[in-house]
Amino acid sequence: MATRLKEAGIAAALMLVLAVPILGINIVIDGPSTHLEGEPLPVVIAVFAVFLVRLFHGPIAMALGRVKVPTLLPTPERMESYRPAILTVLIAVALIWPFTASRGAVDIATLALIYVMLGLGLNIVVGFAGLLDLGYVAFYAVGAYSYALLTEYFGLSFWTCLPISAAMAGLFGCVLGFPVLRLRGDYLAIVTLGFGEIIRLVLNNWDSLTNGPNGIGDIPKPTLFGLEFSRQPEMEGGTTFHEFFGLDYSGGDKVVFLYLLATVLVIFTLYIINRLIRMPVGRAWEALREDEIAARSLGLNPTTIKLSAFTIGASFAGFAGCFFAARQGFIDPKSFEFIESAIVLAIVVLGGMGSQVGVILAAIALTVLPEVARQFEDYRMLIFGLVMVLMMIWRPQGLLPARRLRQELPT
């Protein structure tokens, strides 16, 4: 007990040194002069909290070790037979739910689905291939701007732009990845981080093309086989959805349509990724992540395989970006700052690298929770950062770790 008290005392003293200048002193600027004001309360709280945590560090760690994070899914063998049924129910609920929910809730759900798409895309790069991409938002931006610019200058529709956006983002990923992926992993992290900033700076400064910081507005919404969801047809000779079906105009239709479209895109993304990871290339991603040297000695070409993961991941970001631009109707470089990359990374880390169910749940949680707890909005990123550190210490495999595909040899 005495040594524990001593350790806790040292930790508290250290916290005091750390907290006094930043937490305990406020810089007050009035007019030309700057002076300081003391604010003791946060320091006292911080020091006390550190003291307690340190004092009861042992018991806390033991308690945490004993807590078994519930595995939400039944074991794979039992689950296989239920799988189609569960999937059907889930998809049906996802499709019927918006007709009963409020417009605001559907809107938030649409946003959550965008993050699901981003999370699934980044999961290929970080989770399956084990490449740390910190500039994922750049590809999201490429996708969004591809749609916005193509529709502004060439009048192309959403459905034409969707594959083009994905292809553009994939192309950017390929061009960026090619020189960098031959190098060690951590270089990739910093180069992608720099690349994310370059894309944002270029979008911000290339006024003649992207309209700079003012962004691009009036991006048309997606149509359903040419039917628009506006009150009046915007295109010459166009028909609107409510006219075609003889319904009364309702603004909610558009929101629900966007939600359903996002759901379809997520299902499409999931389908493609699930095919990919069962293909040789998907197996190769995981092999390379686990042991690059062993994978190479088995004749896999690391550069090509990493490049494929990077490119495919990027193109899903472009996909999500295109939908994002269509949903917002307005985009500017501010939507594509580093913090977005960090949020998507937090989703992947929290959900469990390589675990798709985990990533989907984490994306929903991390989008919906801040909306529910609005009063804590300022603390959102602080908590994200903390959670990332704590997860790495206690549960680096994520809340719902991926189950490895495996085949046991009969004995």
């Binding site: 750390l18 937490l23 002193i25 084990g130 900033e197 700076l201 911000n204 950062g385 680096p396």
Partner: protein, 308 residues
């Protein structure tokens, strides 16, 4: 002397000033990378925190009635180095030490989380605004005709240059002469072996992070005195640039980090002067991609041998 030459010299002076700051931060990256092979993402935020601590110390001393400039400067530097080192040590203890021996990606993600945490911690406690400091040391020398363009070398720029050189000399002596410095070199050669020979590697790693934080503290104090304007976001961009400098010079090499910092500073100052200020960051990152493409080991780095 023709105006073009004077203009050119002015850019060199500005570039060297900026480059010295980058060099001081870059050393922190390069040393940590040399020992544990990890990019310490939180380093940029440590530098940002030191800029805040420096500004607070200067203001505090002003309020206490200490006005002798050398004393203010020395006391601020000493206090900031102490507090920032404590931050460096804590970051290592909390976010990196428990992860020793995990796969590469794990400490890297932890470092990014730490960086996000620290940035928001300062933003929440000090506000997401610019904080200005009145210039403590103003004035300087002017060269050239009084009619045409004049080269301006401020006292502050000289102080930055001198402080950087002093910090380098102290660090070099520490690494090459002291017992702990020898342990550091042994760890960067071969950590498991050093451990077998009785070197407390955990302590060496903590010390390396503290050293890096102390140098970042020098850079932070000098920056807050030089530009007189700081905000919680300055660590992010400075961090990436200092890392670029470290890679440019060859990661793991301390003279390389200094060289890389100076080259980057000069490149950036020339870009702003002759091309456009808006694209100066693009040029810096473009440089990073180019180095990695053509000379991944950097200017003074040793090639990385892959071991099974």
């Amino acid at each position: 002397m023709p105006d073009e030459f004077l203009h050119f010299s002015q850019q060199v002076i500005n570039g060297l000033t900026l480059g010295s700051i980058y060099a001081l931060i870059a050393i922190g990256y390069t040393m940590v990378y040399g020992i544990i092979g990890m990019i310490n993402f939180a380093h940029g935020e440590i530098y940002m925190i030191s800029a805040y601590v420096g500004l607070i110390m200067v203001t505090l001393l002003g309020m206490l009635g200490v006005h002798m400039i050398p004393i203010v400067l020395l006391l601020t530097l000493a206090a900031t180095i102490l507090i920032t080192s404590a931050y460096g040590w804590t970051v290592e203890r909390v976010a990196y030490r428990p992860l020793r021996g995990s796969p590469r990606l794990v400490p890297l993600i932890s470092a990014i989380g730490m960086s996000i945490f620290l940035q928001n911690y300062v933003q929440l406690s000090q506000g997401a605004r610019n904080v200005a400091l009145q210039p403590l040391i103003s004035g300087g020398w002017r060269f050239g005709d009084s009619a045409g363009f004049q080269v301006y070398l401020s006292y502050m720029q000289v102080i930055i240059g001198v402080a950087t050189v002093v910090a380098m000399v102290v660090l070099t002596l520490f690494i090459s002469r002291s017992r702990m410095g020898r342990a550091c070199r042994a760890c960067s050669e071969d950590r498991p072996m050093a451990n077998l020979l009785g070197i407390d590697t955990d302590r060496v790693i903590a010390l390396t992070l503290v050293n890096g934080a102390a140098l970042a503290a020098v850079a932070g104090v000098l920056v807050s005195l030089y530009y007189g304007l700081i905000n919680p976001f300055l660590g992010f961009i400075a961090g990436i640039k200092a890392f670029t400098a470290a890679v440019l010079g060859g990661i793991g090499s301390i003279p390389g980090a200094v060289l890389g910092g100076l080259i980057l500073g000069i490149t950036e100052s020339f870009t702003s002067a002759y091309l456009s200020t808006e694209y100066k960051d693009v040029v810096a990152f473009g440089l990073l991609v180019l180095i990695l493409l053509f000379r991944p080991t950097g200017l003074l780095g040793k090639p990385d041998v892959e071991k099974v």
